[in-house]
């Protein structure tokens, strides 16, 4: 009866033996996974910068025409490709961003939880997974076969790629705008369109712009859709974005990458550095916009 059990002291130290070892191993494997991500990224960035810096210059980026592949790197520049990339990406942005924002407004402000809005939202997600080459084939089939190769056709293909991305990122941002803001403007007698345009969209503008910038960054580097829509192969600048074959930085890299001539390869590295610089600048701009103009975040 009077047996008093010795109170057991709980062992609060880290468990010993295999449990501790396996936990350590798992943590180190996670760190190793991150290292495995850094190595190729660092390797690619180092190579592109090291090989690109020696050729890239203001005249390389602006002068043309693009020299034939056999000529050394010191001759001529990729001005026409830079111009083509800017023309086509800008036109794609003008086409896709407003449509994407309006589509997101429908999903969030009008469609709500209805079946049509849910279907459109789901299909927009699915559409982000459609390979870019399919967009090129699609524009080739409905546009290029009838109207010929042009910068506009390339912009349509890139626009199709950007549209679902813009819809999704804008939709996320509109969801964050608090309802009392909308209700306050309704109480002042504003119509739904006016509430959306003057209250909801400005409240979310930081996130919308940064999402659009990221979509542009992805589109500017796309190659596959352009093969079927702007053709490439032109060496002189084509300032008319609506007519005639055009060229772009990614296409120059693609066609030069398999050439045995050092001049062609050097130009490809220079174009790759320019392309990565464009993408990084857009990405940093997106971060700055997010930091400066975001009012509501998760």
């Amino acid at each position: 009866m009077a047996i008093v059990a010795e109170p057991q002291q709980p062992d609060l130290r880290e468990p010993a033996g295999w449990r501790r070892t396996s936990n350590r191993i798992a943590t180190w494997l996670m760190v190793l996974a991150f290292v495995l991500v850094i190595i190729p990224l660092g390797f690619v960035l180092f190579t592109v910068i090291a090989k690109g810096v020696s050729i890239i210059s203001w005249s390389f980026l602006t002068s043309g025409p693009i020299p034939p592949i056999v000529l050394p790197a010191s001759v001529g520049g990729l001005g026409p490709a830079v111009l083509g990339t800017i023309e086509i990406t800008a036109l794609a942005t003008v086409l896709a961003v407003p449509l994407g924002i309006l589509g997101a407004v429908y999903l969030n402000e009008y469609g709500g939880k209805g079946p049509l809005a849910r279907l459109i939202g789901f299909m927009a997600d699915v559409m982000t997974g459609v390979p870019s080459i399919i967009m090129g084939l699609f524009i080739f089939a409905i546009w290029v076969l009838h109207f010929g190769y042009s910068g506009l056709a390339g912009a349509l293909a890139l626009g199709c790629l950007m549209l679902p991305v813009v819809i999704r990122s804008t939709d996320e941002m509109l969801k964050l705008v608090p309802d009392p803001l909308r209700e306050a403007s309704y109480a002042l007698g504003a119509t739904k369109a006016r509430v959306t345009v003057t209250v909801v969209l400005p409240a979310a503008i930081g996130g919308i712009v940064s999402g659009a910038l990221l979509a542009v960054a992805r589109a500017a580097g796309e190659t596959a859709p352009l093969i079927f829509t702007i053709l490439g192969g032109t060496s002189v600048a084509n300032t008319n974005v609506f007519k005639g074959a055009n060229t772009a930085l990614p296409l120059q890299i693609f066609s030069n990458a398999t050439q045995p001539y050092t001049g062609a390869q050097a130009r490809a590295w220079g174009a790759a550095l320019a392309l990565i610089a464009i993408a990084f600048i857009l990405m940093i701009a997106a971060r700055l916009v997010t930091a400066r103009f975001t009012r509501y975040s998760r």
Binding site: R19, A26, L41, Y106, M127, G129, V130, I133, L145, T191
Partner: protein, 326 residues
């Protein structure tokens, strides 16, 4: 869509007209405009299916089921696409085998191990990986990576030559531009999306489950196995499927490093071909039935990726909804 509430007939005269009838034209016009933009997504998807199928009917009708034979010889008007389908599957599997463990490791590192202020720079690195364009991966792959890894392939190949299974997988012939190189490059390219989606899924695991596991004395690994994994396995499977869809559709990097040889072989270090790469490489010189065949390969690719994406999104959405409900 909206239900019109009938005004009470005995109410004051001024409120007899329902509010919905008083919406100005501009307001309703704006609603229609946004609806049209939303429907654009569905319209484009339908148009993709219709227009590309229309351009490839001659291939489907001329070859019938022979499109699934291993017989690609445009000069002799023979367009069997099996080698490309095989290459697509093989390269995607190699990419997943490499990318999925790495992505899960980084996602767990971000959510369970490092403090918040370290997570930001790690996410930035993953984002940087995502914005490197496909063609830059291809350029680096063919000019730098393939010549370097060629020697490793060659030594592995001579080492396992003659051993039953390993010999037929990794034995000679070996080449820098090969299925395996394409798979590695694809793994780099799909890691960001698999990581960020897995991370989102893992972040929804309730803190109380994790704390419960720790309170029972679990180590971090045991907590991950007991609390995190059962909650997030569905979403992670969805993320992996989305990565598979990306890996199957990536074009330019693969077109540059896969070696462009339409063969079906078990040798992973040998040059091969896949669906997007053959379209990108051969479309320029194609016309007539050749072009229809390439379009048709595009249609098959579209169908494959749409099916995978629909399943993946459905899984991700369902697991996200269950988490919100819980």
């Amino acid at each position: 869509m909206s239900t019109v509430v009938k005004a009470d007939p005995v109410g004051p005269a001024g409120s007899a007209r329902p509010l919905s009838e008083r919406r100005p034209l501009g307001d309703r016009g704006f609603q229609v405009l946004t609806l049209a933009c939303g429907l654009l997504v569905l319209v484009i998807l339908v148009l993709i299916a219709v227009s590309t199928t229309q351009q490839s009917t001659s291939w489907f009708s001329a070859e019938g089921l022979k499109i699934f034979t291993n017989n690609w010889n445009p000069a002799a008007n023979q367009f069997g696409a099996l080698a490309f389908i095989y290459g697509t599957i093989i390269t995607a599997i190699i990419a997943l085998v490499i990318a999925v463990p790495v992505s899960l490791g980084v996602a767990l590192l971000l959510t369970e191990v490092v403090p918040y202020r370290w997570a930001r720079p790690i996410v930035t690195v993953i984002d940087l990986l995502a914005v490197v364009p496909s063609v830059v991966w291809g350029l680096w792959g063919i000019l730098v990576f393939a010549p370097w890894i060629q020697h490793i392939y060659a030594s592995i190949g001579s080492g396992v030559n003659g051993i039953p299974v390993l010999g037929s997988l990794f034995g000679p012939p070996t080449s820098g531009a090969s299925f395996f190189t394409a798979g590695i490059i694809l793994a780099f390219m799909i890691t960001p999306i698999v990581t960020s989606l897995s991370r989102e899924v893992i972040a929804t695991v309730p803190a109380i489950d994790k704390e419960g596991a720790y309170a029972l004395g679990a180590t971090r690994l045991e907590m991950i196995r007991g609390a995190v994994w059962p909650h997030s396995q569905g979403g992670v499977v969805g993320a992996v499927l989305l990565g598979l869809g990306r890996a199957m559709g990536e074009t330019i990097a693969v077109a540059l490093v896969i070696g462009s040889s339409p063969v079906i072989t078990s040798h992973l270090f040998a040059p091969g071909y896949n669906m997007p790469a053959v379209i990108a490489n051969q479309f320029g010189e194609a016309s007539g039935e050749f072009r229809a065949a390439l379009m048709g390969i595009g249609v098959l690719l579209f169908v494959f990726t749409i099916i995978i994406n629909v399943i993946a999104r459905w899984i991700v959405e369902r697991s996200a909804r269950r988490k919100r409900g819980a």
